[in-house]
Symmetry: C2
Subunit: 233 residues, 2 copies
C-alpha cells in the first residue's frame, strides 16, 4: 500500500473502446431523430462511415438491439423498429409512471445546487422556445437536458439509466414527429408543464411534480398519436 493516501481519491479511469464510441455515435443518431423508424442500417457501411472495422459497430449494434432500440429482422436486416400505436402508448405509459416517480423523488430530495441546475435548464429551454426562429434540434436537446437535470436529482442511479434507455427507444418516433410538425413547439404545452414541474420541485411537492412530468409526456404522446402516423398493431 502506498503511503500517499491521497491516491485513494483518484477516480477509476474507465477505458474507452471503439465500440463505446460507435455506440454513442449511433445512439446520438437515434436520439436526435436522424435515424427514423423503418430506416435500415448496414454494419459495413456504418463501419466505413466511422472509419473502423465492423467489429466495434457490431458490438454497438448488438447492445442497441438488446435495448430494443434497433432490431434485426429474420431477414438479417438491421433497422429502427417501427412501433405500432399500441407499442408507443405502452412505452409512454411506462415513461409516465417511471419518470413521474423519478420527478417526485427529485422534488423531495433535491439539493440547492441540483435545483439551480434545473432552473437553468428550464430557462434555457424556455428561451429557445420563445425565440423568433426556434431550432428544432436544439430544442430537443435542451428539453432532454431539462428532463435529465430533474432525474439526476432523484438520487437513484439505476433509475436514471432506465430512463435514458426509455428515451433512446422513444427518440426516433418523437423526433420524427417533431421534424414533421415543428409548430407544436409554439403551442407552449411543454413550457407550461415544465413550469409546473419546476415550481413543484422548488416547493418540494412530489405528487405535483410527478403529475406535471406525466402530463408533459401524455400530451406529447397524444399529439403524436393524433397525427395517425403510427400504424395499429
Amino acid at each position: 500500500m502506498s503511503s500517499i493516501s491521497v491516491l485513494a481519491e483518484l477516480p477509476q479511469l474507465k477505458r474507452r473502446t471503439l465500440a463505446d464510441t460507435a455506440y454513442e455515435a449511433l445512439a446520438d443518431l437515434l436520439a436526435s431523430g436522424r435515424l427514423t423508424p423503418g430506416d435500415r442500417l448496414s454494419l459495413r457501411q456504418s463501419a466505413a462511415a466511422l472509419g473502423v472495422s465492423v467489429m466495434p459497430v457490431r458490438e454497438a449494434v448488438s447492445r442497441l438491439v438488446a435495448d430494443g432500440v434497433l432490431e434485426v429482422a429474420p431477414t438479417r436486416a438491421i433497422r429502427v423498429p417501427v412501433m405500432t400505436a399500441q407499442d408507443f402508448r405502452a412505452l409512454a405509459e411506462t415513461r409516465m409512471a417511471i419518470e413521474g416517480m423519478a420527478a417526485a423523488r427529485a422534488a423531495e430530495r433535491r439539493s440547492e445546487s441540483e435545483l439551480t441546475a434545473i432552473r437553468r435548464a428550464e430557462a434555457a429551454f424556455r428561451a429557445e422556445a420563445a425565440s423568433a426562429q426556434p431550432d428544432s434540434a436544439r430544442a430537443v436537446r435542451l428539453n432532454r437536458d431539462l428532463h435529465f437535470a430533474i432525474y439526476a436529482a432523484c438520487g437513484l442511479a439505476p433509475l436514471q439509466e432506465i430512463i435514458a434507455r426509455l428515451w433512446l427507444k422513444a427518440g426516433p418516433v418523437i423526433n420524427l414527429d417533431l421534424r414533421a410538425h415543428p409548430e407544436r413547439l409554439r403551442h407552449g404545452y411543454a413550457l407550461r408543464r415544465h413550469a409546473e414541474a419546476l415550481a413543484a420541485i422548488e416547493a418540494r411537492d412530489g405528487p405535483v411534480a410527478a403529475a406535471a412530468l406525466a402530463a408533459d409526456i401524455r400530451e406529447a404522446t397524444d399529439f403524436i398519436l393524433s397525427r395517425g402516423g403510427l400504424r395499429d398493431g
Copy 2:
C-alpha cells in the same frame, strides 16, 4: 400474395444466434447465483466451455456489461461487479418503486387467467418453502416465477423488460446471501408478503399490492444488508 391465406397466421420465427444462447447461459449463471460478486470471467474459457468461438461470448458479455450485470475493469478483466451497500440499497429502492408500481397495475387490470397463473405460482412457492427440505435453487426459481407472473399481468411489456434487468443485476448478491443463509426461507417473511400481494390482486387493490411487493423487497434487502457482507462505498 399466396392464395393460402392461412399462412398469414404463422408467427414470425425469430432467429436464434449463438450469441443469444450464450447470453442466456451467462444470465442463468448470474440469476441463479453460480456466479457471485467478484468472480472473474474469461472470454476464451467461457467460449471453450460453451463449445463455440469467442465471438458469440463476446457479444453476450458486451450486452451484460451494458446492463451493468458484468463489468470490465480497466485491467481488462471481466468480472461480476461487487456492489457497495449504497449501490445495493439504491438498486433495492429502485426495485421497490418500479416493481411496486407494476404490482399495483397488475392488481387493477389482471384478467382471470392471469390471476389463476399468479395463484398457481404462489401455491408452488409456498409448497416448496413448507417442505421438509427446501431446495434453495428451486425456491429461488419459484420465487422468481411468482414475481414475474404478477408483473406479466401489468400489461406493460417495457416495464417487464426493465424489471428483468433489475433482477439480473440484483441476482448475484441475493443468491450469494441465500446460499450462505438458507434458513431465512423458513422465517416466512416472503410467504406473508406473497399472501398479502395475492389477496390484494384478487381484490383489485393496487396500493396494497404495491405495498406488499415493496415490503417483500425491503425485508429481503434489510436482511442481506444486516449481514454486513457488502462493503461501504
